[in-house]
Amino acid sequence: MGNNSMLSSDPGILLKDYTGMTTVGIVVSFFFVIVLAIGIWATRKTKSSSEFFAAGKQIGTIALALAAFSSTLSGFLFVGAPGLIYSIGTGALWLTISTSLAFTVLWVVVGKKMRLLAEARDILTVPDAIEARFKSKPASFIAAVAILVGVVLYLATQLLAMGVVIGYVFNFDYKYGVIIGMIITLVYAVGGGMLAGIYTDVFQGIIMALASLFIIGFAITAGGGLENITMTIASSPALAEGSIGQKFVGPFGAAPYTLVMSWFLLFALGVIGQPHLVHKFFMIKDTRKLKMGAFLSTVPSIIAGVLAFVVGMSVKSLVLSGQLEPLVKADDAIVVFLLHFTTPVLTGIAFAGIASAIMSTADSFINIASAAAVRDIPKSLNKVLSEKQELYYGRIVSVVCGVISVVLALSLSDEGIAILGAFGWGTFAAALSPTIGLGFNWKGATKTGVIVSMCAGLIGAISLELGKILGMSWYVDNIAGLGIYNGVFAFCISLILLIVVSLFTEKCDIDSDVEAVIDC
């Protein structure tokens, strides 16, 4: 029990006593109706597999930019980041500030190449692109399997976060939240495919960027201004030992320097291996639409990142100054803050934004997983489906992926969920970034090089994460003491192997149109 003069930090108690819950419920329901309306509109426009998997290659600059912003940052920015900042200070922000270079890297290294490749060939997916570049069905198959497995498992962790948010709003168990969230996502994902996903991203991106501006103001005010927030934390007796309070407000927080720089690197360079982001460049209407996209993605990502920073720091200073009880879980930071310090309408918009951020990522994941299952894997096994078959089976596989993810999310233990978390950004970064990043910018990359690199990246990233999570002896005895960050370590190994193996293996015969892409 906390002190009576302190505000409660238990979301369960807060939600029970919160008088604005009806307003929050109405706002969130209204958002879900709009999301479903986008789904219905997109379903009417989706008549072919090209429209289902690549939005008919008709999206413009703003749609591309906001979709990239929404898909990159997802629910993590609004739930995980404030919680992590509350726990370890400013250092956690390095996961988010990678957007200072991530969008430039994405646009410069792969954006133009992928769009030009889609101009030259009928490319709809990342494995399509890999096959076009290396003329290797095994390479395409490995990429497709990595995407399918990684996406379905990673999706389960996203669903859990969505279930918690929906459960909060409508006051029921998170398990029902997972199921309801998945049903809404599937309604528009199965019908409208990527077109629905893109325009949901646009809607959600605009709302979150605008809501963030207001929430930033509320957070600074609640903490008594930035200087008060800084000095309350820095001079707190609770954090005096080892000058933790000073470090907490410093740029690296209470985390080791190499760890936070590794986060930055993994997100800034790993972005080129994220299939749901690379995929978006196949959908752009024409090459000129690339021009402003990186800039337009960066602006809202900075605004939303500042939100995570000020909410996390403000809640920490409120706790340290005795105005708020210590959080039950760090991830409750945003929920506790919204319920105590903002209005019900803004809380509703933020909850809806968080849920739709996760939904839009889930939709992108479901779409590329179904593309991998009905297009990429059959193609790599010499079985080509017709356009109509791809669309039909693509919709069925979307439902199957959604159901598998729900079952995984609801049936696994906490340890199981932590293991699912291993199949995240770092896995794709290690497995696919070197192949995509170097494959389309260096003619010397060979098919053997990329196969070795993808296998090493995939196996390396997953083994290291599993070793760490499960406390396996080979990891604890030999690796843990090295101070490496698993994703970056696996990424470096994968990158080195691609280059070295390519230097010593037979060069690929590159088709003239693909060579033109690499030369551009």
Binding site: L93, T99, S100, L101, T104, W107, V108, V109, V110, K112, E119, A120, G225, L226, E227, N228, T230, M231, A234, S243, Q246, V249, G250, P251, F252, P256, Y257, T258, M261, F264, L265, A268, L269, I272, T287, K291, A294, F295, T298, V299, I302, F309, G437, L438, N441, W442, G444, L482, V488, C492, L495, I496, I499, V500, S512, D513, E515, A516, D519, C520
Partner: protein, 137 residues
């Protein structure tokens, strides 16, 4: 710089980064981290086997902005008591550098460079025409 040279730079920097991790040398990591990221940006900027000069100059300036601001932040936090010695807009000076220079300025400036040089250096009409002719063959 051509593609092969760019890839050799990436290989060398990646090996150094691996060494930095295994030896827990955070200063070496601080040098290699922005170098590796900008090596990829340089590689991606190569058009017809060279990097347009103005674009290259822009990336070089931004590379030094990132590297110098990173080293400055590390230098300030070496003595924890110095962190809050100077405040800028209510934030410790090093944190203000992180938010204002390392993040916001770098993010806006690099993407603005991309947008401003797009028509001339990233994908000019001439390059696009050449590309279309090549893929028709």
């Amino acid at each position: 710089m051509n593609q092969n040279k760019g890839v050799f730079v990436i290989l060398g920097v990646t090996i150094l980064m691996l060494v930095a991790q295994v030896t827990k040398n955070y200063m070496l990591f601080a040098y290699t981290m922005p170098t590796l990221i900008f090596s990829f940006i340089f590689l991606g900027s190569i058009t017809k086997n060279k990097i347009p000069k103005i674009l290259a100059a822009g990336w070089v300036v931004m590379y030094f902005v990132v590297l110098i601001s990173l080293l400055t932040m590390i230098n300030i936090v070496q003595v924890p008591e110095n962190i809050t010695a100077d405040l800028v807009f209510g934030l410790p000076k090093a944190t203000a550098i992180l938010l204002g220079v390392f993040w916001a300025f770098t993010g806006l400036a690099t993407t603005a460079i991309y947008a401003f040089r797009f028509d001339k250096d990233i994908l000019s009409e001439e390059t696009m025409e050449e590309f279309k002719n090549k893929i028709k063959k």
